[in-house]
Subunit: 345 residues, 4 copies
Amino acid sequence: MFKAGIIGDGYTAAELLRILAWHDEVEVVSVLSTENVGRRIDDLFPHLTGFYSLECEESNVERLMGRCEVVFLALPHGLSVNIALRLLEKGLKCVDLGADFRLKDLRLYREYYELEHEAPEMLHKAVYGLPEIYRDKIKNSDLVANPGCFPTGAILPLVPLLEAGIIKPDGIVIDSKTGVSGAGRTAKPASHFCEVNEGIRAYGVGTHRHGPEIQQELSFAAGVEVDMIFTPHLVPMNRGILSTCYAQLAAGIEAGAVRQVLEDRYREECFVRVLPEGTMPHTKWVYGSNFLDIGIYVNPGSGRVILVSALDNLTKGASGQAVQNMNLMLGLNEKKALMVAGVHP
Amino acid sequence: MFKAGIIGDGYTAAELLRILAWHDEVEVVSVLSTENVGRRIDDLFPHLTGFYSLECEESNVERLMGRCEVVFLALPHGLSVNIALRLLEKGLKCVDLGADFRLKDLRLYREYYELEHEAPEMLHKAVYGLPEIYRDKIKNSDLVANPGCFPTGAILPLVPLLEAGIIKPDGIVIDSKTGVSGAGRTAKPASHFCEVNEGIRAYGVGTHRHGPEIQQELSFAAGVEVDMIFTPHLVPMNRGILSTCYAQLAAGIEAGAVRQVLEDRYREECFVRVLPEGTMPHTKWVYGSNFLDIGIYVNPGSGRVILVSALDNLTKGASGQAVQNMNLMLGLNEKKALMVAGVHP
Amino acid sequence: MFKAGIIGDGYTAAELLRILAWHDEVEVVSVLSTENVGRRIDDLFPHLTGFYSLECEESNVERLMGRCEVVFLALPHGLSVNIALRLLEKGLKCVDLGADFRLKDLRLYREYYELEHEAPEMLHKAVYGLPEIYRDKIKNSDLVANPGCFPTGAILPLVPLLEAGIIKPDGIVIDSKTGVSGAGRTAKPASHFCEVNEGIRAYGVGTHRHGPEIQQELSFAAGVEVDMIFTPHLVPMNRGILSTCYAQLAAGIEAGAVRQVLEDRYREECFVRVLPEGTMPHTKWVYGSNFLDIGIYVNPGSGRVILVSALDNLTKGASGQAVQNMNLMLGLNEKKALMVAGVHP
Amino acid sequence: MFKAGIIGDGYTAAELLRILAWHDEVEVVSVLSTENVGRRIDDLFPHLTGFYSLECEESNVERLMGRCEVVFLALPHGLSVNIALRLLEKGLKCVDLGADFRLKDLRLYREYYELEHEAPEMLHKAVYGLPEIYRDKIKNSDLVANPGCFPTGAILPLVPLLEAGIIKPDGIVIDSKTGVSGAGRTAKPASHFCEVNEGIRAYGVGTHRHGPEIQQELSFAAGVEVDMIFTPHLVPMNRGILSTCYAQLAAGIEAGAVRQVLEDRYREECFVRVLPEGTMPHTKWVYGSNFLDIGIYVNPGSGRVILVSALDNLTKGASGQAVQNMNLMLGLNEKKALMVAGVHP
């Protein structure tokens, strides 16, 4: 039985606890918190009643030493760097659910997060935690930068096509729609029920921090700097991200190639489901699950490609993917604790 | 590995499939349907993609003979009786998720369901499938009448108090609020999104079919005919039932007795959670799970008792409870496939 | 053209502005705020773009003197008393949307609001602002205590029956379900979208401040202290309150009397609609409107009476009723600016 | 007082009735229906209780002759043509809320609606009912083709920029998100509450009938055939359409030109609100109102233009716009009955 620690007590921490409750080779032994020290997990998260008798501990990383082999960092950006360094030093493995190790380009980190990075040398040591792309590196890594929720939904459909060179690397539009849990558990005017319910709006237009993260991975895949734009929208639902990705077939490529490439690439992947012709994904189908579904439309006349992906932002978009990464890092079956179907309806 | 069949293809059938997908001692080998014969399960229910390759079969009960040991009947009322008889005759065990075997009083069945019962002698042979009350009988039964969703939420909090004689058997009010999936998968004006969303209403006031079912079980527990009234309301959410039950302390009983009796009764039950003082349940905490949560308030001055229960109508209120019953009937661990936490947020 | 001022910038203030935008005899000339001084109304409430060019002014009551004839106080409890006194002194009329002048019993105010009242002599001078009950007093009053949202929904259906003596004054249960806007515009964990959406829960069980307010008015109507209990629930919707009121026919009264009494009482009232036999109200039917709808069920056998009322908590439950009161106080047509239908679907 | 008739009894008919209830120069004298003949309007649409005592009449257009000056056709496509011809013949004015007179190109009508048009000569006689573009023609027309809900949201932001030649006429992406009422009042699996709530999906990808309608109007504005793609998504809300429109600045055009052109164009329009820099629209701000809000983002580096528009699909997207057209056709003040603010929150 491996032992795991969690630093943080927001929604992604709660989702880690929910998933790990039915993991039979990993046990959560400690949750560190700043605001809820001494409070029982099932008081804080009553849906976990009966699964944990832990109390939140003071947020001091030293408390974890000698008690666990792997630590999940579920913290606001900027806070993970020093903690991760200290954990790695002591031989613990880290999955960082925050943004501190995702960007490889220091200047972008500075520009978008308005911080100087405290350990720039780690940026290239950390592995970007998309198992479907970087599985082997993740297996051998001690520090995994778990991807953002939007990037997961945008990168997995587009990367195989860019790698294969069958879509153009410019003019890409990624229009994403997210549930509210992605904004975290802290009460803010923008997440007030009445400001979200029964309406939809765009936010962070042209400036959202997940833009450069998507840009980075698409460009790696294309081998050139791609030209893309990303716009997130807030939808009145708790969970789920739907990303509608618009691209253009490369010259001379036939419409059928898109499906072919995606099906070939994901045939053996258990968490990516390429839906059949004519079926477009629905976020409720992956609710509470670790699946990412992809629907495909190509207009044979105009060569326009529309890929629609659906995932649960807290699961495949955060904590489920983090457990998938942990499984790989610990040499366990990648699917452990994750093979449950979405809760529909 | 036990083999199971499912007759029906509505929401409770889908939920059975979702739950049984991670049951490691029971396998679903057949789903019978009238409208979707030949259609793949994962085409009908795309959230189950990757879990089943079954196709819906023609709804002829003979197809199940020799292929399974247990059958779930997920049919509209009136249709289960003859099918169950035929299955029992051939030695198969049946869990009926419909209403045909729940009421013991023929006249009530006729009055509320407007049908003559086709096998009245079976009413007393069938066991009412609330494991927390009838566990031993269920273990030895071949025919279990799975309770209605509202009754489960009303009976479990009230029965221990009526049995103990600490609340009065009259003046009981049960005010329930349900999500929309309880009304089934068929498109009806009343379940049109726009007629439900962003509003709440009462329905079936004074006439809902779950009234006599609740009445029956409360009266069994009290040993006298209880006087109660039940009103359901439709809430804009997919899943969940919250039942607010109002009763009066019996003469000479102290307020603290209510909590005492309920905690004693449910201490060893894994699916009933009596919440601590001051915590009232939230249906989202049990979303997709088999738990029933109970919150308690007693006014020491007036002797008014308020019990609030929460469950997921498709899980503990239907298919989860059906699997719990099946586990008992097959001699398996009652918790198998059911020990997952609610999906919150 | 009368001139009006508003003190406060929460949801009830926004709703006053929305309604008064189409009032052709009253103009809002000033909005006082503490947190948004200097901010334009249409920046704070973009749905009002094109209707106002006002900026929020500093919250100093002296700013209103000489500029308006009537003032709406939309403030947290405890803050209205001194302000109202000052305004009355200067001859301005006040509609207080808060709770400071609703209870006639000082001890209840102290117990439920945990404050010493600063002007106890005003409690009996202020008129409880339910026009359907106190119309004449309101016309002659300078200080109207606008009722709470839950009380409006509970009092209007029950008072005529209690006055007529056709229901018993004890054993009354009021089970209410509200949208989230009733909790105000301030961001709080309890109004976080993800903590409300796709679930329902009870809150303030046995202790909600609207309990004594309902109790007071029902007891006035009955002529004796009624025995009742009130439980609010939070429903995932922005607007609307549905109250399900359970009572018992008095001895010797026939079932038909309930409808008779309510229809007679409300026949001439333009904002109370007694729905026909068999129709139960839906909160969406009164969305954004000043109507209160009542549905009636009486069980002739048991004598149980169920009254279900629906209103929009921000309109008839707050700002619409406040405008109705203002119309009366200013000698205007009571319906001015209020005769719009609910926004359905 | 002008007299109006309505043919149809779906959501757009209900919305016409809601709006016209407070129109002081037009009175609805008849509603024709096929399924609800003899049923009172307020039984069918209880939110209109107190506003109408009409009963639905048999759907025979002759019933309207001599009783009204203007008729709204709120019918499924294909049914309006002959009815409109008969009404025009008798001198009545028609606003068709359906799709039969919107496309000027017969072949597109045949391709997308799979029908032969029964009066092709009328296509060029009918005026496309976007007052902000075709006001003068509408004033002089007897037959107005009320635009589709999606086209209204896409055309109004883009047309001024295409006319001015400041964006390129190719590579345009229109990603729209709609509430469910746009799909009509008929119960269908796709509008079942549980299939929509707590999830989002794309539909009609590449094939939606509003695509050619948008294409037509954008091409008229650009003076060349534009290259665009349109994708609708279904959002769990009753009302509202948000359209995110992506385009590219034309060569040599500065970023500021976009705002300049749109503000100049819509300065005098009362129903189009260009929001200030940094504010993006929210559909709830226009809920139940006739406004269309536009938010603007231009990336000065890449020249990418993002326009986000919000409208209420039943109001500015259908019945509100129809009343606006009717006002123009009858020589009334265009704003009559329409100057109400959105219902927020």
